[in-house]
Symmetry: C2
Subunit: 295 residues, 2 copies
């Protein structure tokens, strides 16, 4: 089977896990439950839970106690998108070809749906406590989820991004935004996989280094695709960064250096992965796909 | 020392615990950290963490592993107020005599501050994992925090309240809103105190029953004060529910039945508390104060 076939199959598997942890749309609070599920079900590549599961498998993890964390991670990611799209934030009306949550359910319900997802994310993750032989690992994994989603992670990056909207961004702040806004959840995903499988502190260090490289390369590739991408493949307009006067890695460093950087980062990530005394060929291919993708 | 003196002292103690867990206002994301602390520091009675600590003490708890949960509870409560005040929600410009967070920091930053607090709430609570001899209790307490704050707790109640704004509310939905929007965090506070101190399942049941009675009585007393309260004591306008055509326990059942209900609920709560083979005279007085208060 070729990589794309396997990827399709694995995506379906991950999807099943997520579906299994979504709340039932019933009771007095039906509307908020519907609007939460509306955003999570909107689709996407499910990269974060997939990276989590594959890292878990890399370290020999074979239990189901990783699954609540996979669903939780996707909930946190969705929550951030629901709030990012709000009129007071990016004011986006469409995402993945559908109305954004606030357009579909109203601004008040979208605020509550994002809140609901953020909290349900922890309610879900902590279900692993009842499934595991390692409560200490669940505690650490939940702490990582909180730290990397919060003000020292994703939300922190989002804040700086919001503050610098329509302003030129110096390189140090751009690095901060990339590391936190995109990088933090990718790092958390891989690190939670490692922690739940019982990786050693040294192995955790390597996973963090891999995830940081992949996260940054992923984001720079995004910037590159905005310049050289094929609109029909991407499914969204190209050159939007330039039109919006947005500072990106490409506008700061130029296209050639951006491409070099992606190559350097992804090669280093793969090298570090190969230094580990375990193998997961699919994870290696997945990382390569992420940084060489055309959409 | 009379009750008010002790209360003042205990409030100061609780305040110290909260302050100790607030994030430092430094780094690239300084603005969101400031706006988070702005809302938590706005004051209030700190009832939830106080109820938590006193319930913990009732069951013989004497460690500091309850403290992260006390601070976390106040963060979650503040987060909900920050989002409730937003223009798309209640559109309130003042709270406790100061500008609300969105007026002070902008709507986008207020959304992020609420998000930041919600996630930091769990980051903080989970710090108890590194301080406790009972990781299993920390896992359960964190799960209770998530459940009672989320769509099956506070956020669920808030959703129904938002949906029924400017509409008449039937009794069953009013009960649902009261139980969840106000009651859930009070219940979580007392239950987390019990769980962290190692209370038995039967003892937990009694605490839930007490907290439910106190939560409902507290809310009905709020409705009563809006009708018969003294504006200068309350520090906010009276008769605002009537002016806003808001359905409350008093508009549905009348003032006399409301007063009877508060009396019945608080007496039952105190009776249940006295059935427990432990004593905490301050907790008893605190509960009585909550339901007989004039502001």
């Amino acid at each position: 089977m070729d990589f794309n076939e396997i990827l399709k199959q694995k995506t379906a598997e991950v999807q099943k896990v997520i579906d299994c942890y979504l709340p039932e749309e019933t009771g007095h609070q039906k509307t908020v439950l519907e609007s939460m599920n509306y955003s999570v079900k909107a689709g996407g590549k499910r990269l974060r839970p997939m990276l989590m599961q594959e890292t878990y498998r890399l370290f020999g993890g074979s239990d189901r106690d990783i699954e609540p964390f996979m669903a939780a991670m996707e909930m946190m990611h969705s929550a951030s998108l629901v709030h990012d799209d709000l009129p007071a934030m990016d004011n986006d009306e469409y995402r993945r070809g559908r109305h954004t949550t606030w357009v579909e359910y109203g601004e008040d319900m979208a605020i509550l749906a994002g809140d609901g997802l953020m909290v349900y994310c922890f309610e879900t993750a902590l279900k692993a406590g009842g499934m595991t032989k390692h409560p200490d690992r669940v505690l650490r994994a939940a702490s990582i989820l909180a730290e990397k989603s919060g003000i020292y992670g994703m939300i922190g990056g989002q804040t700086v991004d919001v503050e610098l909207t329509d302003k030129p961004i110096p390189r140090d702040k751009l690095d901060f935004i990339y590391a936190l806004k995109t990088g933090a959840l990718l790092e958390a995903s891989m690190l939670i996989g490692a922690v739940m499988a019982g990786a050693s502190p040294q192995e955790e260090e390597k996973i963090i280094s891999i995830a940081d490289d992949v996260g940054l390369a992923f984001q720079i590739q995004d910037d590159i695709l905005d310049v050289i991408g094929d609109q029909s493949v991407l499914g969204k307009p190209v050159l939007s960064d330039e039109k919006n006067h947005k500072t990106t890695y490409v506008t700061l460093e130029g296209l050639d250096r951006a491409k070099e950087e992606v190559k350097k980062l992804s090669e280093r990530a793969i090298r570090t992965l190969q230094e580990l005394p375990y193998e997961n060929p699919f994870l290696e291919q997945l990382i390569l796909m992420l940084v060489t993708r055309e959409k």
